[in-house]
């Protein structure tokens, strides 16, 4: 495994950075990842300016989730560089990595709430990156300011009335909204969502996407989301990245694409 830091070359694939004054929140260059001897993707490069919403599309198993994990430093990349909010994720020391992650929020397909804990505790734990330690393990010990912040985040997703409900007693749509509240409580600069609607029925899925993007826009955050729903990708993404055959085969503005072109990626 070689850890080369690719020279900060200008991003190759269609880097249409519309307004150059905006800071680039995420810059990925020459990223390669394989598991054991199975290559997942090679030479993935792109850059995302602040406030842009990017959809990642691609068939199952093309490595979309793996790419997101590399972005957050949850798994190591083989080679290439990832810079998020001016931090070199590949070479960052643990403390710097945690500091960067604390400015990101993750919403995943399975919601990943901690079962058996209350909804409020789950949301309070979203602050652990910024306020480590015992007091944010549970709403019981949390400082009043954190509890208020959690209630405010729950209110934004319309679930303040369920604050004391156990997390494993929620419907799918409700628990995904709690996961969004947990991701938002720390006011992240980047929101990442991995198939946020995959385990929801279509109506709940629409609600969650609507809510997620209205909040994301209000907070002016950069969004990366994976979706198998081509309409969602085109409707909510400013830009669409497509993974196919281990390469970033598509990087285009959403308004320049139509559904048929995207469907081609799944063949």
């Amino acid at each position: 495994m070689i850890k080369t830091r690719a020279t900060p070359s200008p991003v190759k694939t269609g880097a249409v950075i519309s307004a150059p004054v905006l800071p680039v929140d995420i810059r990925v260059a020459g990223l390669c990842k394989s598991f054991a001897d199975t290559p997942i993707f090679q030479d993935v490069s792109f850059g995302l300016p602040r406030g842009e919403a990017v959809a990642i599309v691609g068939a199952n198993g093309t490595g979309k989730s793996t790419l997101l994990r590399c972005l957050m430093g949850l798994i190591p990349a083989d080679s290439g560089s990832v810079d998020v909010l001016e931090t070199d994720i590949v070479n960052a020391r643990p403390a710097a990595l945690r500091a960067t992650r604390s400015q990101m929020g993750l919403v995943s397909q399975k919601h990943n709430l901690v079962p058996r804990l209350s909804v409020l505790s789950n949301v309070v734990q979203g602050l652990l990156g910024q306020r480590p330690g015992l007091r944010h393990w549970s709403q019981t010990f949390a400082p009043a300011a954190s509890r208020d912040a959690a209630m405010a985040a729950l209110d934004k997703v319309g679930l303040a009335h369920l604050a004391s409900r156990r997390a494993d007693r929620l419907s799918g749509g409700q628990s995904q909204r709690v996961a969004i509240a947990r991701a938002l409580i720390g006011h992240p600069k980047i929101l990442i969502a991995d198939e946020p609607t995959a385990s929801l029925d279509p109506a709940a899925g629409e609600d969650v996407m609507e809510l997620f993007f209205s909040l994301a826009r209000r907070e002016g955050v950069t969004v990366i989301f994976i979706s198998h729903n081509i309409d969602h990708a085109l409707q909510y993404g400013d830009r669409v990245l497509g993974l196919a055959g281990g390469k970033l085969g598509l990087d285009a503005r959403a308004d320049s694409l139509n559904a048929k072109q995207l469907r081609g990626l799944y063949d």
Binding site: M72, L74, L97, R98, A99, T100, R101, S102, Q103, M104, G105, L106, S108, K110, N112, L113, V114, P115, R116, L117, Q125, G126, L127, L128, G129, Q130, P132, G133, H136, W137, S138, D168, A179, R182, A183, G186, I192
Partner: protein, 276 residues
């Protein structure tokens, strides 16, 4: 492919009822039989004794029944049984509490590195390999005769059991919540406390109930080596040929152990059922 008659040309002969073993399998069977016979010889298996034992056993039963149900004896044995349960419970609680931090460093990929995991797991394996009664002997030497030695033996036995199985429980727990908390920038310790342990909690409770059952079973015989509890009454009963009292002790142990197993089974379904 079809033949003239239009039927598929499949081989219709059914397979043989018995397949002839390969030479290697045959050697394996022969070897196993030799080992079994050899073990019987080593265990002093004697047809004579098997034949002569039913009358002797009947004689023991005859002398042991009816069990000694004198109120004075029952009261004494009852108190002793209570002490036994106290030893089991106190030892199991201490063991369970100490097992959590030990399991945290024994679980692979959690907070400690591979080397530490391996060392801790090997140590736990050693603790389990030493029988509870041997631990009791060791603690009798260390802290003197009495229930405290028994409690320590139960505690260390529980650590050997729970330390290992808690670690397995945490390794098997759903990693999703832990990943989501890691993604918020949380420290490892916070992630373990907030996601891994709650996710493994039902398995922890189930494991702890097994540990309690095991502790109760162990505690009833610790008295044989002077480490407290009702076991001493069993020993004295047999030493003095007071078989009715010994029989009372055996029956009491059976009732208590079965009750604990029933309770633990009931509590386990409560916990697992509640989780879903």
């Amino acid at each position: 492919m079809r033949n003239n008659c239009g039927a598929f040309m499949t081989d219709m002969t059914s397979p043989a009822r018995f397949e002839r073993p390969s030479a290697l399998a045959f050697l394996g069977y022969a070897g196993a039989i030799v080992i079994i016979l050899w073990s019987f010889a080593g265990a002093g298996f004697s047809v004579d004794k098997v034949i002569s034992s039913p009358p002797r056993f009947a004689d023991f039963i005859d002398r042991a029944f009816p069990p000694n149900l004198e109120p004075k004896v029952l009261a004494r044995l009852g108190w002793k049984m209570l002490e036994t349960l106290q030893i089991a419970f106190a030892g199991a609680v201490i063991g369970v509490i100490l097992s959590v931090p030990i399991a945290l460093v024994a679980a692979r990929g959690l907070i400690a590195g591979n080397w530490v995991n391996q060392i801790v797991r090997t140590t736990l394996g050693f603790i389990r390999a030493v029988p509870d009664i041997a631990w009791a002997l060791v603690f009798v030497v260390a802290v003197g005769l009495g229930p405290f030695a028994g409690m320590l033996a139960i505690a260390i036995d529980t650590i050997g059991f729970c330390g290992r199985f808690y670690a397995d429980d945490m390794e098997a727990a759903d990693t999703g919540p832990a990943e989501s908390l890691t993604a918020t920038g949380a420290r490892k310790l916070d992630v373990v406390a907030c996601a891994t342990i709650p996710a493994a909690m039902p398995a922890f409770i189930s494991t702890s109930l097994f540990a309690l059952e095991k502790a109760v079973r162990s505690s009833t015989i610790l008295g044989l080596v002077g480490a407290g509890g009702i076991g001493i009454e069993l020993k004295v009963g047999f030493d003095l040929f007071d078989y009715p009292t010994a029989m009372t002790v055996i029956l009491m142990i059976a009732v208590v152990v079965i009750t604990i197993e029933q309770f633990s089974g009931w509590a386990r379904t409560k916990v697992i059922g509640e989780q879903r």
